[in-house]
Symmetry: C2
Subunit: 331 residues, 2 copies
């Protein structure tokens, strides 16, 4: 895979997920708001882990999941994110490289352990997350490899990067590099609480620097401080070239300066775990966009990828998305 031919480079928090089943009473006891992501420190992570049930460990991280989806569709991707030189860091690096994604960020030595996200999946398939950022928060501007950003049609950034200060600087550097090279910059708002924490920054960013925005209903509502989806659609129109807004089973709405297109959600036989739904929607959408598809086709690819990921535990594809998309007549 030559660097010249990259579809998307993703930059995000390099995280290993620990997925366990839990019930609503457990979330209440732990003071966790269902469906949200909460940042926790090492001691909180230890306490939550001690209280939760048996887990499945697998590579995660929002932008990394998106890039893994693009690779599964047959696209070319690269990833930039910080893990530690420990066992879980090795797992993270192995998994993303094994699917053909370029990943060369130097691991953190002798510092914090690799980030982990404790994911509690309730019987309604919702996921609630406690994230210990660990080594991932040490991502800095020097880790942003300019040749990757220049080589990629799209640089994809996760909003979660705004939490650690050095990662935010890396984020801004990547966005500048991409635009200077005539490339597109894409952002996912990641989480409504993340938006609350950084609303002013995100608004300025979306208005001034983002070409393709991903958000779900709660996130776009948080950005524009409204519970009315239509109000949020009017607010975001024109702030970025494309806003792809996901609404779970109601499908997604793609907003440009002059158009609004609604695309139905893909049917799911058995909803198991919604972790990664947004990440994989972005995979399909960005794969379509970097392969010359119209916006409705991009959204359909996004829905297809999201449907695969929510049919099983974990946020990395179990099936070949390329094969699924071909079967659905989308490739």
């Amino acid at each position: 895979m030559a660097a010249e031919s990259l579809d998307v480079v993703g930059i995000g928090n390099a995280i290993v997920d620990v997925i366990a089943q839990a019930d609503d009473a457990f979330l209440a006891r732990q003071g966790l708001a269902k469906g949200s992501m909460r940042l926790i420190d090492a001691a909180q992570a230890e306490a939550l882990y001690a209280a939760m049930g048996p887990g499945i460990e697998m590579s995660g991280g929002s932008a990394a999941n998106t890039i893994a989806g693009i690779a599964s569709l047959g696209g070319t991707g690269a990833y930039i994110g910080k893990r530690s030189a420990d066992e879980l860091g090795e797992v993270f690096a192995h998994d993303i490289r094994s699917i053909g994604v370029r990943f060369a960020t130097a691991p953190l030595q002798h510092g914090m352990p690799t980030a982990r996200c404790l994911i509690l999946v309730t019987p309604d398939a919702q996921r609630t997350m406690g994230t210990f950022l660990g080594a991932s928060a040490e991502l800095g501007p020097d880790d942003v490899a300019p040749e990757l950003v220049r080589a990629a049609q799209v640089t994809y950034l996760e909003g979660y990067l705004f939490d650690p200060p050095r990662a935010k600087a890396a984020f801004l550097k990547a966005a500048e590099l991409a635009h200077a090279a005539g490339r597109k910059v894409s952002l996912t708002l990641s989480d409504p609480f993340c938006v609350e924490r950084h609303r002013a920054d995100f608004r300025a960013l979306v208005q001034g620097h983002i070409d393709i925005l991903f958000a779900n209903e709660a996130e776009i509502g948080a950005l524009y401080e409204t519970a009315d989806f239509d109000v949020a659609v009017r607010a975001v129109r024109g702030h970025c070239d494309i806003a792809a807004l996901t609404r779970s089973e109601k499908g997604s709405v793609v907003v440009t300066a002059g158009t609004t297109q609604t695309v139905a959600a893909e049917k799911v036989a058995r909803l198991v775990d919604t972790t990664g739904a947004g990440d994989l929607y972005a995979s399909g959408f960005l794969y379509g966009l970097t392969h010359g598809r119209d916006l409705a086709s991009c959204a359909r690819l996004g829905s297809l990828c999201a449907a695969e990921i929510i049919s099983h535990f974990g946020a990395r594809p179990e099936a070949s998305l390329k094969a699924l998309a071909a079967k659905a007549g989308l490739l």
Copy 2:
């Protein structure tokens, strides 16, 4: 949970599984015989891991899976096995304790890393395993806590313990302690190649010291050097009180001195990964046995637990086996 009231204590290699999808060509390139377990050293494990696709990490180990199944059925279990004081060792300890299993074996300090089993699942749902024993091979007689063995109705031993010499000594100590306390000793033959490696030892053991034997068709055939299942049944009869012989979709056959009962396999809607089928059959069977059920009911419980485990990736239950068994009218 008082030590006085244990149903089963399992002793085995404490292993974290790394589960990845692979095709037959991959197995051929790696020189792996489909369906088998092969011992590999650290360098071989590294090479195989580098070649394989993205993995899911989750606690495994044959006897540990069995005990996890007993806990999921509502039984009381304990586990003895050696992991290292590293990240994967912490995962192993957390997972088994979080389901209420007593696990207090001291972790190995400053030695080999926690054992891992690289499991390649082919599209036909068969699993092929490369096991790096690491710290698990350091299990020794001193790790066998006499109070646990004396407290448990059944001491359950995995044949894999015969590979590392100190673990074999631990195995024999546990069997002696159990019998001295008037308890039952159960063995699974684990793997046909493992039986080949230790046939004479296993035959002497089965004939002299084992009350309840678990084996699949290939394993019991390897023990008695026959490809004819009926010949194997005749050979094992009388060598131990109960032999529970599993035959995949053909169900299982329970052999005692005077009886032979065949119990159908449970129907599986979607066969995904056969890892753990034998381990979980033993869970159901031993739960039934330690709760006063007749042998046919024990076998039915075994089949039910095996059916749950092969319907998803991984060898630990995703659903409550207690709830499943209740629904099936078996509890």
